[in-house]
Symmetry: C2
Subunit: 318 residues, 2 copies
Amino acid sequence: MVVLLTADDVPPPTDIDAITAIADVRTATADTLADVLPGADVLFVWDIFSGALADAWHAADSLRWMHVAAAGVDAVLFDELRDSDVLVTNARGVFDEPIAEYVLACVLAHDKLLHQTEEHRRLGQWAHRETLRVSGRRALVVGTGGIGRAIARLLRAVRLDVSGAGRRPRDDDPDFGTVVDSARLTDHLGDVDHLVMVAPLTEATRGMLGAAELAALPDGAHVVNVGRGALVDQSALTAEIASGRLAAHLDVLQTEPLPAGDPLWTLPGAHVSPHMSGDVIGWRDTLSRQFVDRLRVWVDGGVPGPAVDKQRGYVSGP
Amino acid sequence: MVVLLTADDVPPPTDIDAITAIADVRTATADTLADVLPGADVLFVWDIFSGALADAWHAADSLRWMHVAAAGVDAVLFDELRDSDVLVTNARGVFDEPIAEYVLACVLAHDKLLHQTEEHRRLGQWAHRETLRVSGRRALVVGTGGIGRAIARLLRAVRLDVSGAGRRPRDDDPDFGTVVDSARLTDHLGDVDHLVMVAPLTEATRGMLGAAELAALPDGAHVVNVGRGALVDQSALTAEIASGRLAAHLDVLQTEPLPAGDPLWTLPGAHVSPHMSGDVIGWRDTLSRQFVDRLRVWVDGGVPGPAVDKQRGYVSGP
């Protein structure tokens, strides 16, 4: 039996009929999850912001697989789940290329001064300025999972000089070439033009881009965060942007929505967006289809997808 | 003897010393050109907006080569020059990659809704929206010279579906694959997502994107003009943008600067910029160096660069 965990303001999966044809499906929201969960072997977390399972864990008497329709699983992991035998899978792959395109858009908008030009336009100012060649600019992508790899490939396709930062330093990565040690980030930031944050949020990565790391970036560097807001010390970054030293495209923030009155709403150089970098038209359909495909494998007795390493907090390995 | 045609508000070429070391150099502005020109065999048009040679043509008693520090030569050609034996060369190559990067920036900004997102940010609105996959979008590049080719290659590198429009239709172009007949543009616009205008301005291309062509574009299409403003019927395009049917990034306009009060300053969907798409940091240095290199060839008795076909109005052939 499959429990679909959703919310009132979230549209149902496109493939709900296909899912129902494969399995007995019950729908729950955060409020009703504990009532619906007993007897379920599969939990499909469709409302990706729901951490409701932690509270309903006592009712998960038969749970064997939880699929999360998101790339990041930080919101849904908790200690009892980590220590259990429940298989956790995520939406691996779905967001790779869409987010890579979004990051490239941010990189180009920055180097070609598009936002500044729009501001001049808004003010009726014809202000010729010189822009940057994008080819040869140096990008460091922090996070070497599927999304980070897609970003690296796309930035390389337009001839940026790309490297990665991850747990395991190496010089022969097929997508990054060089991967530097993400635990020693300050050592590798001095020549970075575009710093792309796409690491999963774990206890090891929380706040990894702090005041010291930001200070190690050169003047004029550009931060793109498409991972999680909590990867970054947001007040330190805000101060760097306010000083005019750094600019940023921030698709994720410490608190979402960004509270009214936050300086990031208005600072020149801060370009906030509402957690949408991977959400291309049809994204929910793709997520729905991915679950159906995996559910079929599950029902046939197979392994429905690569497991999230629940201790690390992400799917590890290639 | 080389005459350097410049203007008071234009910085001198970086390599003026090198030029002076190679040849006798005299500097002229539009006002003094007729006085300085007699005896000169080379004219270096450094003020690219100057059409002064037409008025000073009677004084061009020894002129054999004119080099223009611009890609488009529409502003400097006139009938007597066309019918003369004077070799005309342009800044071929210098702007290819910079403009290609700029066009890609515009394409991505459009598909990823960056301008709309900035407008929401300015108003303090957290407004999640779905964006487009860029991969697979259809781009038609009108103009198959060096800049158009660089645009095609870069758009293909991020997996757009690219074709070209030019004088000679063909299916085996190395950069475009298919090139359709630019004289029958309306036949080829029905499925175009991004229409990139980069043709040289000639009598054959003036107004080539008129009301009928614009009407042939599908709803939601995006026009990028990095060629010349007069390629486009600007009032017809303005009407299409005002209706919400089309959007555009216009780096060139019928009148530059765009006059105050023009609706293109304020229409949502119209993104004007001040003729800067190719002007990356160091662009004037590159133009200066290109002339020095060519002047050396000229002084040694060689052909200093590919000739502009003065009847057609651009360098033709590969």
